[in-house]
Symmetry: C2
Subunit: 207 residues, 2 copies
C-alpha cells in the first residue's frame, strides 16, 4: 500500500538477485501444491484441508509453507491458478471434430483428477470472490475457444443459423462437468463420451 521509506530492493528485471544465504528449494513449491491436490481429490473439503496435513503430505515443515504463502486462502488460490494448463486449439476443419476434441480435452487424465478437486472447491468458490475470480480466469478462456468454434460453424453452415450459442455451450460443458466431477449419471459410460455427446447435440432427439 504505502511506499517503502527504506531502500526498496524491488527486484529489477535481472534475475540474478543478490540472494544471500541458502536459496529456496524449488521442489518444495511443487510438492506443496501437489499435496493440496492430493488431499482435495481424496474427498476432503477445502475447509478440511489443514496446513499441517499439507505439510505432512508434502514432507515439509509448516514454516516452509508460511514462508511462501501468507495464509491458507492464498495457498488455495495459487493451487487453483495452477490448474490452468495450455489452451487447446481447434484444428478448424470440422465443427464436429473440434467440439469432440475440446470435450475430450476436459476429460484427459489430468482433468479427471481435477474434477474431484473442483467439486471439493465449489464451496470455496461460492464463498470467496477472490477464488471465484481465479476460477473464472481458468474457465472463461476455454469457453471462449468453444464459443469460437460454434460461431464458425454457424457461418460455415454446419450449424443452424439461429442456434443459441450460449445455451449450446452450456449443453456441451454442463453434462461434461457433471460427469467429470461426480459421475452424475452412472449409467452413462465413459467410452467415447465426447463423441456421443457432440453427436447427440448435433442431431437432436426428435424423430
Amino acid at each position: 500500500m504505502e511506499p517503502m521509506t527504506t531502500v526498496s530492493v524491488d527486484e529489477p528485471a535481472g534475475q540474478d538477485r543478490k540472494a544471500p544465504g541458502r536459496p529456496r528449494n524449488a521442489q518444495a513449491d511443487q510438492a506443496i501444491i501437489q499435496a493440496v491436490f492430493d488431499l482435495l481429490s481424496s474427498g476432503q473439503s477445502a475447509d478440511a484441508v489443514s496446513i499441517e496435513a499439507v505439510a505432512a503430505r508434502a514432507g515439509v515443515g509448516k514454516a516452509t509453507i508460511y514462508r511462501r504463502w501468507p495464509n491458507k486462502e492464498a495457498l488455495l488460490v495459487d493451487a487453483v491458478a495452477t490448474m490452468k494448463g495450455p489452451l487447446p486449439e481447434p484444428v478448424g476443419e470440422s465443427v464436429r471434430d473440434d467440439l469432440i476434441m475440446l470435450i475430450s480435452a476436459m476429460r484427459n487424465k489430468r482433468m479427471e483428477h481435477y474434477g474431484k478437486v473442483t467439486m471439493c472447491l465449489l464451496p470455496e468458490i461460492a464463498k470467496s470472490p477472490e477464488m471465484r475470480r481465479i476460477y473464472q480466469g481458468v474457465i472463461e478462456p476455454r469457453r471462449d475457444v468453444m464459443r469460437g468454434v460454434l460461431r464458425r460453424g454457424i457461418t460455415s453452415g454446419e450449424l443452424r443459423a439461429d442456434l443459441d450459442v450460449e445455451l449450446t455451450l452450456l449443453m456441451l460443458s454442463g453434462p461434461t462437468a457433471m460427469q467429470n466431477m461426480m459421475h452424475w449419471n452412472p449409467q452413462v459410460p465413459d467410452d467415447n463420451f465426447a463423441e456421443r455427446l457432440v453427436d447427440a447435440i448435433l442431431r437432436g432427439a426428435g424423430a
Copy 2:
C-alpha cells in the same frame, strides 16, 4: 450410552403417547432445519456449519439440537432428506411438455434455494457414503420419472428410436444442475430456460 428413556422421535400410530412433562416444541425442529439451509446457502461449506451457529440462527439452545439429533452428521442427513419434496407427475400428452414441466420443477423457488445448498454439500456427499445414499434417494426417483417420459416418447414415435436415453437424461439434468447450483454460464438467461433447453435437445444443433 444408556438407552433412551425419553420418547422416541418417530411416534407410533398411537399419537396420545404418555408424554409426561412438557412436550417438545415442534416449531423448533423446523427452525433448526431451516437454519441449516440458511447457513449452507449463505456460502458456508458443510464442515463450516457449526452446531453453535445453527443454534444461534434458529434461536434455540444447543441442548435442544442434541435432544433431537445425536450428532452433526445426523442433522445434515436429515436436512438433505427433507429436500425431497413430492414427486412431479408428467401429464402424458406430449413429451416436450412433460420434459419442460420436469425441468421447470427443478427450478422453482424452493429448488433455486436448494441449488446453492447442494453445491455446498457436494464435498460431504463425496466423502460420506451415508450422505451419498440419502442424496441418491432424492435424485434417483426424479431421474426415473424423466426416464419414463423419454421411453414413452420413443415408443410413441415422438423421439428417435435409437435415442440414448441415459445420455439424454444427462443432457437434460446436467445443464440444469450446473445453472441451478452456480449459474455456470452467466450468459444463459433464466427466462424460459426449461423450454429453450428442451427444444434445443429435441431439434439438435445441426443445420
